[in-house]
């Protein structure tokens, strides 16, 4: 296990280095400058470039950027003049982590039971009902889901505030997270329930399940003890990238619910040509993807002894 983790760590760092380099090249090659506006003169842009070291040879810029990353410094934002990339990335990541964890939890909480339910009553009405929910989750995009929820819960029922991040931990404030979490989770609820259903259906026709039934075990034990552990493996492999996506935030959900998360910076930094912030976002996202994939691979070993971490 330790050897596995070390190997993955080394591979991860190499991957990050390649990503950082590619990203560096792309930010320098992309047309447009972080400093242009409708009112900016060329001499002023030169002053900006000198200020941010962009007048130096590209290799020097590259060396500096990499050296700063090693020191944990993501560099100054080139668009938000008073802030550093660390300011945006860490506070955004914190919010996105909280919201993402909540939605991931919701996705498992709803998705797995729905899937099991559907497989237990395959092709009967609970199956159809569960799979209809899942189809809705897949089909309704979150830029529609969010406003629909707001319309219902804020303006028709008056139960929930329409947007913003909670100011404190009272229920009154925390309930602001309900709609964004549901919006983020819905599509994953859908996928997870379908994966769980397919996984379970695959398993319950296996010999060892027949053996369990033949032993006279109650049906729920067969299903949840013997079937579940094996049937749920496809969900686990889906969970890694899903959690990485959820915790790095979603532009749409952040825009609709005014969530100060990381997702919006992916897009706004690119449209602003804020080179440092683009790179910071991509790197943080890459770290998370690598991390969660490693965790998932390690988790396989626990769930399924046939899988060896090698």
């Amino acid at each position: 296990m330790v050897a596995f983790l070390v190997r993955r760590a080394v591979a991860g760092i190499l991957t990050l280095y390649v990503i950082a380099t590619l990203c560096f090249v792309m930010t320098r090659v992309a047309p447009g400058s972080p400093f242009t506006t409708e009112k900016t003169h060329p001499e002023i842009i030169r002053a900006y470039e000198a200020y941010y070291g962009l007048d130096k040879p590209v290799l020097v810029q590259y060396g500096r950027t990499m050296w700063n990353y090693l020191r944990g410094d993501l560099g100054p934002s080139m668009f938000y003049r008073d802030k550093t990339c660390n300011d945006f990335v860490w506070s955004g990541l914190e919010r996105s982590l909280i919201l993402g964890a909540l939605s991931a939890f919701l996705a498992f909480l709803l998705g797995i039971p729905l899937g099991i339910l559907a497989s237990a009553w395959q092709n009967r009405w609970p199956d159809h009902a569960a799979m209809s929910v899942s189809i809705v989750g897949i089909c309704v995009p979150n830029f529609l889901m969010g406003p629909l929820l707001i319309l219902l819960f804020t303006f028709v029922l008056g139960w929930l505030p329409s947007a913003q991040w909670p100011e404190n931990t009272s229920w009154n404030e925390l309930r602001k997270l309900v709609m964004p979490a549901i919006t983020l989770a819905m599509v994953h609820v859908a996928y997870i329930s379908r994966l769980a259903r397919a996984g379970m259906l695959d398993v319950i026709h296996k010999d060892f399940i027949r053996t369990a039934r033949a032993k006279g075990l109650p049906e729920w034990t067969v299903f949840l003890k013997h079937g579940f552990k094996n049937g749920v493996t496809p969900v686990v492999s889906y969970a890694g990238p899903m959690v990485a996506v959820l915790v790095t935030g979603s532009l749409v959900v952040e825009k609709v619910f005014a969530i100060p998360g990381l997702g919006q910076h992916f897009v706004t930094s690119a449209t602003n040509r804020d080179m440092n912030l683009i790179m910071a976002c991509v790197l943080v996202y890459s770290v998370l993807v690598i991390l969660f994939n490693t965790l998932v691979d390690a988790a396989y070993a626990f769930i399924d002894p046939r899988v060896r971490v090698s």
């Binding site: 506006t37 409708e38 955004g92 005014a258 100060p260 602003n272």
Partner: protein, 548 residues
């Protein structure tokens, strides 16, 4: 309108989309274009009424393209946005219908669009200009050949000369006459195609007091307050790029800066006329080039006195060529400022601003400047503290370091979430500041902000959702007003048929601006028949829709 529509858009395959568009917008009920607008086109004395469309066709024929025959394909460039797209499509249709010219649309992402603009990689492109102060110069100056914002390739020596003379002219009426002559040249040459004049549109609750709609949409909050609440919540619609007044360049930054700093003068919230700010009084030399400001006894938020040297330092800092700022040119009215900023000298003492003593500031201008006191209220002219900036560098605007002299001070700035200001007890006029806290939100999604406003979580929204605009403008808390800005298109006059002035004029005349404002923008914008918005007292712009 019926007749006009039919004439402009004879039924045909190509006309269909716009007819559908017009029909769905309910065009039949609108009054005829001749009955509204500022004034109808002025007919030449004794001549028949001016028909812009017939004249446009005539000019096009004179230029060698009768009915648009063999006219090379034109391309319109706009930055990606639904609103711009609709207008570009309308112009495309109008040129095709009215002149027989084929037009292609090209949209590009904002930064690429800006690159194409500055490199003149376009034929026709969408533009917009928002004035910085209340004087025609802020518009006329844009089209001088030395201006970095011209971006059309158009240069006219007479125009440049008139603008320069106007800058040096102390007499207001003569000065405006020089501007009029310059704009007349611009409207004859037409490197630009004015479409409409902007309106500001925002909404604030009736419980918000002490705020008034005005032409620059500038709202000092010195005396503003919201009834029954400690915190006035304003959606600023963007995360501000900076709190440093020397580096600021946009409207969201302006809103916050206006709360935390004060210049020599400040704005009257109703009229925007300059009032005494840090300077309690001033003297102006008879030739209008020397100002002596007498500073009041007032303090920074940390208790230190505001001195004349704070202004000297702040202005030199803005003009220092090493300071990366877009707005140094706002200070070019000061003697020696441009020379220092453009590295013609490296001695900052050559700039015409001196502290005679702690409470007396002497400013010398290049030329008399009619709006210098207005400028003194503008953020680029705000004082800043040298010791604070020297000590903290770019971190000086963080809440623990920030020192300011305005009615509010910085309590907390959460990146991309909110900026919380609290009343600054050290402000000289603090007893008139009624609001305890002001909170700025950076929400750029217009619908989200509008939801919060409807819900009561926000007292003031500075942008409105365009898909609901027709209902919103009927609300009593909708605050729309004429705005100091022009939406226009520019022509690249350096190549192709657009080098020909007659062709540009034909293109400019072949657009029905009434349709653009009544069917597409729909917020009470005024159609533009000249470049400078019609809001400067005593200044009347010459129009382009006349016979040459």
């Amino acid at each position: 309108m019926n007749a006009v529509v039919i004439r402009l858009f004879p039924l045909g395959r190509l006309a269909l989309p716009i007819l559908v568009l017009l029909h769905s917008a309910g065009c039949d009920s609108k009054p005829s274009s001749a009955s509204k607008g500022e004034t109808a086109a002025l007919p030449a004395a004794g001549a028949a009424a001016f028909d812009p469309l017939a004249y446009a066709r005539q000019l096009l024929a004179e230029a060698g393209y009768p009915k648009g025959k063999d006219f090379p394909k034109l391309e319109i460039l706009y930055n990606t946005d639904e609103g711009h797209k609709k207008i570009a499509a309308a112009i495309q249709q109008m040129w095709r219908q009215n002149l027989g010219i084929d037009v292609e649309l090209r949209n590009s992402e904002w930064k690429v669009y800006l690159d194409d603009m500055s490199q003149l990689r376009y034929q026709v492109m969408r533009r917009g200009w928002i004035g910085d102060y209340r004087d025609p110069n802020t518009f006329i100056e844009v089209m001088t050949s030395a201006s970095g914002n011209n971006n059309t390739g158009w240069a006219n020596a007479d125009y440049d000369r008139l603008v320069k003379e106007a800058g040096a002219e102390p007499d207001r009426r003569k000065r405006l006459e020089l501007f009029r002559q310059a704009e007349e040249i611009l409207m004859r040459e037409l490197p630009v195609m004015p479409i409409y004049f902007y309106v500001s549109s925002c909404a604030w609750k009736d419980s918000v007091k002490g705020v008034y709609p005005n032409i620059q949409d500038i709202h000092p909050l010195n005396e503003a307050y919201v009834e029954g609440k400690d915190t006035l919540v304003i959606n600023n619609a963007a995360e501000i790029q900076t709190l440093d007044p020397a580096l600021a360049r946009g409207v969201p930054e302006h809103r916050v800066n206006l709360c935390v700093f004060e210049g020599l003068t400040n704005y009257d919230p109703k009229t925007l006329d300059p009032r005494p700010g840090v300077a309690e009084r001033w003297e102006i030399s008879p030739d209008g080039t020397k100002y002596t400001f007498h500073l009041r006894d007032c303090a920074w938020s940390d208790g230190k006195k505001v001195t004349a040297n704070d202004f000297v330092y702040a202005w030199r800092r803005v003009l220092n060529p090493a300071t990366p700022t877009d707005y140094a040119h706002q200070l070019y009215y000061i003697k020696g400022a441009e020379a220092y900023n453009t590295k013609k000298t490296d001695d900052p003492s050559t700039i015409g601003v001196r502290a005679k003593d702690d409470r007396t500031l002497e400013v010398e201008l290049e030329n008399p400047c009619a709006f210098f006191l207005d400028l003194c209220a503008f953020y680029t002219y705000y004082p800043v503290r040298q010791d604070v900036i020297d000590k903290h560098g770019t971190n000086w605007t963080r809440e623990q370091n920030f020192v300011c002299n305005g009615p509010f001070k910085l309590k907390e700035w959460r990146a991309a979430e909110s900026i919380m200001l609290e009343k600054n007890p050290a402000y000289w006029n603090a007893e008139r500041v009624k609001q305890k806290y002001v909170k700025f939100l950076p929400i750029d999604n217009r619908s989200t902000a509008w939801n919060l406003y409807l819900e009561g979580a926000c007292d003031w929204v500075t942008t409105l959702p365009l898909d609901q605009i027709e209902d919103i403008i009927k609300r009593p808390d909708y605050r729309g007003d004429t705005y100091l800005g022009t939406y226009y298109y520019s022509f690249n006059v350096t190549k192709g048929p657009l080098m020909d002035r007659r062709i540009r004029k034909a293109l400019v005349l072949a657009i029905d601006r009434e349709i653009v404002v009544s069917k597409i923008t729909r917020q009470g914008q005024k159609p533009a028949y000249h470049f400078t918005p019609p809001i400067f007292p005593e200044y009347k712009s010459p129009r382009f829709d006349v016979r040459d």
